[in-house]
């Protein structure tokens, strides 16, 4: 299970408009000792990055009002956020292509399993520890 290193909890952003999905993913992240922030659509996520907020990993739903997940990924990557791990999440398998084309690092079908999330976070933690 992803563990918390003192003073360096993994910072996750959940970009999701469906409340049920958001609540479940937040619970999983908190169970895995992550600090989680929520944006309810792609535009809110972009605004957070424009405000200078930084995250270790971002989970994007695909279809959201105002700005979709792939649109937000494209925008945030174009702002220079190339290190943050971006994960597209959707019940629609057709979303994979849209997310990968936009610059996401990976796509995970909904509903996400806790073990899948844990292994993604392990990778992020490993990368953080290596870069110091």
């Amino acid at each position: 299970m992803a563990s918390k290193k003192q003073g360096s909890a993994t910072r996750a952003l959940v970009v999701e408009d469906i409340k049920v999905d958001c609540v479940i993913l937040l619970r999983m992240l908190r169970k895995l000792n992550c600090e989680a922030t929520v944006a309810h659509n792609g535009k809110e996520a972009v605004d957070l990055f424009l405000e200078g907020k930084t995250f270790d990993i971002v989970f994007f739903d695909k279809d959201m009002p105002l700005m979709t997940g792939p649109e937000a990924v494209t925008k945030i990557r174009s702002m220079g956020a190339t290190d943050v791990k971006m994960v597209g999440v959707s019940a629609d398998y057709g979303g994979m292509e849209a997310f990968m084309r936009a610059g996401a690092d990976m796509f995970v079908p909904k509903p996400m399993k806790l073990e899948t999330l844990d292994s993604m976070l392990q990778e992020v933690i490993g990368k953080k520890n290596t870069s110091g």
Binding site: I18, K19, V20, D21, V23, I24, R27, M28, K31, D63, A91, D92, K110, P111, K113, L114
Partner: protein, 151 residues
């Protein structure tokens, strides 16, 4: 009160929900997220699901009336509902949502209408069954969470 009997009843009820296809493994994933800090997480999520899904069903109902043959719009709404169903393991509801979407893809209005009625019916049945399940769990007490059914 015979709490162990209540726990057995809850376990049996849950197994029945799985055996009859109302729920799938994802429901167990949600229950597994419960702990001492969040002992009623599954019930909270299910309550949220039914609140949200009632709204989505109402949106679809209005869209069916206000936007005749707008299959893209109908499909978009149903996609949201299907997603929520997947998230809590509402398997039969999810299947009916998928049928509806198939009919949208075929441009079949009658199919959509019939399928939507089935979605509403499954929604009502699942709500009743899960309300009974969680009531039983509450009566069974803090250690009343049923075990994962053998599949």
């Amino acid at each position: 009160m015979d709490y162990s009997n209540l726990r057995r009843q809850a376990a049996s009820m849950k197994k029945s929900l799985f055996d009859q296809g109302y729920l799938d493994e994802q429901f167990c994933q949600v229950e597994d997220l419960q702990d001492e800090a969040s002992p009623n997480f599954a019930e909270e999520v299910v309550t949220l699901f039914f609140k949200d899904s009632a709204r989505l069903i109402s949106n679809i109902e209005q869209a069916l009336e206000k936007y005749p043959k707008d299959f893209n719009k109908w499909d978009a709404y149903m996609q949201q509902l299907k997603g929520s169903c997947s998230s809590i393991g509402a398997s039969r509801m999810k299947s009916e949502c998928m049928s509806f979407r198939d009919y949208c893809g075929q441009g079949n209005v009658e199919g959509c209408m019939k399928s939507f009625q089935k979605v509403k019916r499954e929604h009502g049945v699942l709500r009743q069954k899960l309300e009974s399940y969680f009531q039983l769990l509450q009566q069974a007490g803090p250690t009343g969470a049923a075990t994962r059914p053998a599949m």
